[in-house]
Symmetry: C2
Subunit: 129 residues, 2 copies
């Protein structure tokens, strides 16, 4: 197991959203996913591989996002990867009053000196408050 799993997971989270949250960069976030094996479940819709994930990223109808993290939990996996769960709130910058909770789970796996996302499950907030 990678002893730096916590730092790797948290660094990844901040990097991932710094790309995803900017509309002009969003589809390049797809390049962080494993080219063929990556699985994305986005609000219950399933996508596999960078091509399908990039198309989904382009289709997400959100402008630039502001995001706050409530918790980031990381665990090491036996193959040197990291399981990461994120809970937080996000705001579409063009709709000032709309704050949404979200939860997202990633599994990262090592590849050479870096990591690919192999699993990603995303859900917007969950119950009406």
């Amino acid at each position: 197991m990678n002893p730096n799993f916590d730092a790797i997971g948290k660094h990844f989270v901040h990097h991932y959203y710094s790309v995803f949250d900017e509309k002009s960069k969003r589809e390049t976030a797809a390049e962080m996913y494993h080219p063929t094996e990556a699985l994305l479940t986005f609000e219950g819709q399933q996508f596999q591989g960078v091509g399908a994930i990039k198309e989904k990223m382009k289709a997400i109808p959100l402008d630039n996002m502001a995001r706050q993290f409530t918790t980031i939990d990381c665990q090491p996996t036996v193959d040197g990867g990291v399981l990461v769960t994120v809970i937080g709130q996000l705001k579409n910058c063009s709709e000032n009053d709309k704050v949404m909770g979200f939860t997202q789970t990633f599994i990262l796996k090592p590849s050479n000196s870096s990591f690919f996302i192999h699993h990603d499950i995303f859900r917007l907030a969950l119950h009406d408050c």
Copy 2:
């Protein structure tokens, strides 16, 4: 990958909570975890292996629980396992007015004809409503 990942994940979720949510059975839920490798992160506290997880189960200060699921998302992993994320609400049956949101992520891995929990990250609801 296991083609039945979705059914396996959803069946597991219902079985797991049917044990966990009954206070008299709760510590036996620990037997669903891999004896030595299982990692549990419970509200940020980390536990490894059945012994430590069973002690934690015994210490959880909740009576019988009622639970509603908002979403259960499953993905297959390359080793024949299942990644499961659960979002829902739970209620401590002895405190009628207290409904809490929660999110929980499991990774199940096959062992003979069954599955062990290898990873579990649990968080109670996330932001005040």
